[in-house]
Symmetry: C2
Subunit: 340 residues, 2 copies
């Protein structure tokens, strides 16, 4: 390879053809004229271009290895997602290597670069933190840069860019609907509790605000509480706040469990005096008493679908929808709410 | 490198010196005679020997990357351990890449080989499944094979071999002591519940059996229940068994939470009629009601100590105790027991 940064876009440009054509040539497709094939191959050979993504199709050089990035592997949602990804990838004959990047922008970039040196065939980012807050495109530039080398997939976050495939949950809609149901049955003091300002957390917040505003409640900032992601921190924050509340919408299950602990400490009956909704439908929902109602964002399905898309992209088989895929959520009622 | 499998042992043998001497030469230590230094360097150069572990000391070729293997990343204990390892490694300037191997022997070997192709400086195995059941040395041969290339560390399991560094919890002692306390206060129908036949599970079982036998109870097999690692599976198994029990010692917290759910379903008061002890002191102990007493195996400390040892080995600084390190456990009493 003459220069490190050469990629499929450069080859396509030099040959004056589309990326799809370059890809077809690399994969030995018969749907390319002999003249075009020869022109593209000349440039490929001249430039010494053999990125993994196409070597895949040729059975050359590929390690059948996918890099997965996750900010915090101790998080219930993320460790479950990684486990599903690993299982799906393994079924397809792919190994995976995982990198824990933390949440800092420079670390996300550093860990991305590290994985690229490991000759992985694709990258999968788990968690909406990688999609940034949506305030600036700069936040996600490292993802588009990686996507110039290999295809990139985002679980639960949207990043715009070529060769970037996003899967998002319809979080806004899910929170909107649940909040509305709580308001319709008479709840008047709902709070939205989050530990994050990520893409996904902002979607949820928007759903909450839309619901309460639709019922004529405008002072939404008074109904929003930012906490640390720990059961006791949530309990103690709510006790200290001394707020009158009758419903909690939490952005994850750990926070919701903290709200259950708060109810117990404050002598409030759940769900009679305080209804609580968690998010992610993770294993912890069964441990708590009463068992937690939670919004299921279908982690298994999202992970399996992402791996299916990845295989299609890597093997250049089938039509790929490059725009984001949206997955609807499902409210699972257990014993901390009574709205269905 | 003339042959792929050449390692430090080969170099030491060819030079007729110890491994430590080869290592000192590679690290430029002054504690080697000029004659020995020259002899070792000649062989190293002739054989083209530059494994990562020593390149580390020379600042050459190393990726500052550690491979971590884990059977199931969705497991609470394992994901917490990986998070601690990642944090400690990161503090020391190391990246980590993780591979989820599952529990099958051939997969453990395959994933080990995959990580070795990624030019990692060391391997860390998380979980006692990697140490096998202790019935045959063959079970752990893949670990000794890897250790011929790079140093290998085991979290919570003991594997004998050169360049293999084990850290084990004193699980037998911890279970023995807690079980004995339960018997001393009058419990007569204790059960030991496990989902595993791993090194660590067998240690715990031994502690349980030693305690009950010391009180004249010999039919230990009737007091042992094997279950799937799921809250509801444990609850339903105990309900179906219809056994009279007054104490549960579980090999992990998920199983113990299942026992709490069983007590609720069976109308037994915890801890008055049924005392329950979990294991790992994971985050889930706070979610359940009553909050779970659990044996803390000090995951953070074990992980941090392992990373410290790894740095010493890689940088050849300080004396390394090649035998296993034992870490004592700590019983954390919450509300499912009353023995302290």
């Amino acid at each position: 390879m003459k220069k490190d940064t050469i990629n499929i876009y450069d080859i396509a440009e030099m040959a004056g053809v589309s990326i799809a054509t370059v890809s077809r040539v690399m994969n030995g497709s018969e749907k390319v004229s002999e003249k075009t094939r020869r022109k593209v191959m000349e440039i490929i050979e001249r430039e010494g271009f053999t990125p993994n993504v196409f070597a895949q199709g040729l059975g050359l050089n590929t390690m059948h290895t996918v890099g997965i990035l996750v900010p915090d592997i101790a998080d219930l949602y993320m460790s479950a997602a990684v486990a599903w990804l690993e299982e799906s990838l393994s079924e397809k004959g792919y190994e995976c290597i995982l990198s824990c990047s933390g949440f800092a922008p420079e670390e996300k970039q550093k860990h991305t670069e590290m994985l690229l040196t490991k000759h992985v065939d694709a990258l999968i980012y788990v968690g909406s933190t990688y999609a940034g807050s949506g305030r600036s495109e700069d936040e996600t530039e490292y993802i588009r840069k990686a996507a110039k080398q290999i295809p990139v997939f985002i679980i639960n976050g949207y990043v715009k860019g070529d060769n970037v495939y996003s899967s998002v949950n319809e979080d806004e809609e899910a929170v909107y609907e649940v909040t509305l149901k709580l308001l319709e049955k008479g709840r008047r003091k709902p709070v939205f509790i989050t530990d994050s300002g990520s893409y996904s957390a902002l979607q949820k917040k928007r759903g909450f605000e839309r619901a309460v505003k639709s019922r004529g409640m405008d002072r939404t900032e008074e109904m929003e509480i930012h906490v640390a992601n720990s059961i006791y921190a949530v309990r103690d924050t709510l006790l200290a706040a001394g707020k009158e509340i009758d419903a909690v919408i939490a952005t994850n299950d750990t926070i919701a469990v903290g709200a259950v602990k708060y109810a117990k400490a404050a002598g409030k009956r759940v769900p009679e005096e305080l209804e609580i909704v968690g998010y992610n439908n993770s294993d912890i929902v069964m441990a708590v008493e009463p068992e937690l109602s939670s919004i299921d964002n279908k982690t298994e399905q999202v992970c399996r679908d992402t791996v299916e898309r990845m295989i299609k992209v890597l093997e250049n088989s089938g039509n790929i929808d490059n725009s984001k895929v949206s997955v609807s959520c499902r409210f699972v009622e257990r014993n901390t709410t009574h709205i269905n």
